[in-house]
């Protein structure tokens, strides 16, 4: 877990005006000892800073959300699990040859509810990032998740999944080990589970690789997270045949939390701390926990058959078509 208090937050490109103001304030504060008259200026700038910050984050473009969702200091699954439950019992492995670190899972207690939690993991240090394959699971990772889903189903444990992945890994052995089948099997099996499943997109929801742990009764998204059928870079290069059109692709695909809520695909957008979850891990984790516990509590009142039918009906209704 990264302690945000001790570490300087790296500003994003669209946050530069804010960063400039902050620097000015800091400079003035250093001179304050010599020149007490500056206090007024500082106050004025501080006010300006607060205003700018507020307005900045209400008028974010889709590509800005994407930048926040991908922020290198954004809390990852392990951060949430550690904040929520220091006694989290991690379960490893697919039983057939690999323990994919890009997929973390185990026994978690949240708001008094005992559950199986599974999440993609990006890694913080370079070494971790490589170990986690930058958050791109291999087929072995999806199969590890499936093993935990089945465990949960057997013992009536509700399931929480946290999604933050660019997608499945486009690699040689991933194809050889049939990642298409691994993803498909997860969709297939998740749809048949008789325990409540709550999925939260906490960062990037990257296509099939995200959906593989996202077939849930309730799908939530953090305010600045994104969810899309293809990466905006992929979309831009295919449809615009240009790498400069990523922003257009973000816009066109309607991939932000609020847009996807409007499309009716998700159930709730969870507020983040101002500027993004990486500004305050504790608050982000707490907001997330509240939302999850509330949804889970509701679902846990259903019978096994109801909970399954609820999930299947949800996905059954997705689609936009006419029959005339």
């Amino acid at each position: 877990m990264m302690a945000t208090n001790e570490k300087k937050i790296i500003p994003l490109e669209f946050e530069q005006p804010l960063a400039v103001l902050a620097q000015q304030i800091e400079a003035l504060e250093r001179q304050l000892g010599d020149n007490p008259d500056l206090e007024g200026d500082i106050d004025r700038l501080q006010e300006q800073y607060t205003q700018l910050k507020k307005s900045l984050y209400v008028n974010l473009r889709p590509i800005d959300h994407l930048a926040i969702a991908r922020h290198s200091q954004r809390p990852y699954s392990r951060d949430y699990f550690a904040i929520w439950d220091p006694g989290f019992i991690e379960l490893h492995g697919d039983r057939t040859g690999a323990d994919d670190e890009a997929m973390v899972g185990g026994l978690l207690t949240l708001g008094g509810i005992k559950m199986v939690a599974v999440g993609t993991q990006k890694g913080r240090s370079l070494r971790e990032k490589q170990a986690c394959n930058f958050g791109m699971p291999q087929p072995e990772g999806y199969r590890k998740a499936l093993r935990l889903f089945r465990h949960a189903d057997k013992f009536g444990l509700p399931i929480l999944t946290l999604i933050d992945t660019p997608g499945a890994y486009p690699g040689l052995s991933a194809e050889e080990h049939n990642q298409a089948q691994a993803i498909a099997e997860n969709l297939f099996e998740l749809s048949g589970l008789t325990v409540p499943v709550v999925a939260v997109v906490t960062g990037e929801g990257g296509s099939g690789g995200a959906l593989a742990i996202g077939v849930a009764n309730r799908i939530l998204m953090l305010e600045h997270s994104v969810y899309s059928v293809i990466s905006p870079e992929g979309c831009a290069s295919i449809l615009w045949r240009s790498n400069d059109k990523v922003s257009d692709a973000c816009q066109a695909m309607k991939m932000t939390a609020r847009e996807i809520l409007q499309l009716g695909v998700i159930d709730q957008v969870i507020d983040e701390p101002l500027g993004g979850a990486h500004h305050d891990y504790q608050l982000a984790a707490s907001n997330l926990a509240c939302a999850v516990v509330k949804q889970m509590t509701g679902l846990m009142k259903m019978s096994k058959e109801e909970v399954r039918r609820d999930r299947q009906n949800k996905f059954r209704n997705f689609g936009a078509f006419t029959e005339v």
């Binding site: 499945a168 890994y169 486009p170 690699g171 040689l172 991933a174 194809e175 050889e176 080990h177 049939n178 990642q179 298409a180 089948q181 993803i183 498909a184 099997e185 969709l187 297939f188 099996e189 998740l190 749809s191 048949g192 296509s207 099939g208 959906l211 593989a212 996202g214 077939v215 969810y227 899309s228 059928v229 293809i230 992929g234 979309c235 295919i238 449809l239 615009w240 257009d248 692709a249 066109a252 695909m253 309607k254 991939m255 996807i260 499309l263 695909v265 999930r311 299947q312 996905f315 059954r316 997705f318 689609g319 936009a320 078509f321 006419t322 029959e323 005339v324």
Partner: protein, 309 residues
């Protein structure tokens, strides 16, 4: 254009060709001949079609459109199309360099189809089946809401009639222009197949050139049995994306049907000329009237007159 119209227009075309003996335009001339992608042989298009779109010289399996595919697999006259008029709306008002609506019109004009999959009830050597065939020629065979809905309904149809389900996939993946709704079709179809599976259904998935992305990672890979056509390229990620990612050359036969067979991903690779017979024989092993939802004998049996709702 539904299947009946298509047969009618084909008949008309035939008659026209025989009756009018005028010199051919260049376009008409080109349509007469097809060059084999593999051995470069120049083939008479009519012969190629008669040979199920397989090069008689090198056995290269050309792509087959959805209607031709059904024609090849279903007993003559047995196919009854489902959901023929279903078309996609434009939920995202998607616009890249062109509006999605415009691109759809274009796709329909090119393929002569309303969408990238044709579904219905048919008979294979007298055995009733739920049959779907994708058409790569329509919008790259991409899966949007309509493809997802039609495949889902086909699985539901197979479930309620207790008949085998056969889907021939050929797709570039999910349809970007419908954004997240396209992605959700993967879950929707998989969920319908789960229900079909638990009801004891037999689903044979046939992978044709090419099958990629969200289609492979959902219904195409969920067959009780998975059959690939010779030479068909099948995968999740595209070859070029993988090469860019891992910065190394991939084996020449990477992602071919034969490569998948070697890597345990498909049950068999079957030449198109044997496909119908093989399907028929496989089906004969799976008596769906014998096993019921709980694995117990079913109460009723399927009567062929009661196949469609």
């Amino acid at each position: 254009m539904d299947l009946k119209e298509w047969f009618a227009s084909r008949q008309k075309r035939k008659e026209l060709q025989e009756n009018i003996k005028q010199p051919l335009t260049t376009e008409e001339y080109c349509a007469l001949w097809t060059q084999c992608f593999q051995c470069r042989e120049l083939l008479y298009t009519k012969d190629l079609r008669a040979n199920l779109q397989v090069c008689p010289k090198c056995q290269y399996h050309f792509r087959v459109g959805a209607l031709d595919r059904i024609d090849q697999m279903a007993d003559a006259g047995s196919f009854v199309e489902l959901d023929a008029v279903m078309t996609s709306t434009d939920p995202l008002k998607f616009f890249d360099t062109e509006a999605y609506a415009k691109r759809q019109q274009e796709a329909c004009r090119k393929s002569g189809l309303k969408e990238a999959v044709v579904t219905g009830i048919a008979a294979i050597n007298g055995q009733p089946v739920a049959l779907g065939a994708m058409d790569f020629g329509h919008f790259g065979g991409s899966m949007g809401s309509v493809v997802g809905e039609k495949v889902t309904r086909l699985a539901e149809e197979a479930t309620s009639n207790r008949i085998p389900l056969i889907v021939v996939s050929s797709s570039g993946g999910a349809r970007m222009q419908e954004g997240i709704l396209s992605l959700m079709q993967m879950a929707k179809t998989s969920s319908a197949l789960k229900t079909y599976h638990e009801a004891g259904g037999l689903y044979i998935s046939i992978l044709a050139e090419p099958t990629f992305g969200g289609v492979t990672a959902s219904f195409a890979m969920l067959g009780d049995l998975v059959i690939a056509e010779p030479g068909a390229r099948i995968g999740f990620a595209g070859r070029r994306v993988i090469e860019q990612t891992i910065r190394q050359k991939l084996p020449a036969d990477f992602q071919t049907a034969e490569y998948l067979l070697k890597h345990g991903q498909v049950d068999m690779v079957v030449e198109r000329s044997n496909l119908k017979d093989r399907l028929s024989r496989i089906i004969s092993y799976h008596d769906l009237t014998r096993t019921g939802p709980a694995g117990e004998p079913a109460n009723g049996t399927v009567k062929s007159g009661q196949l469609t709702k």
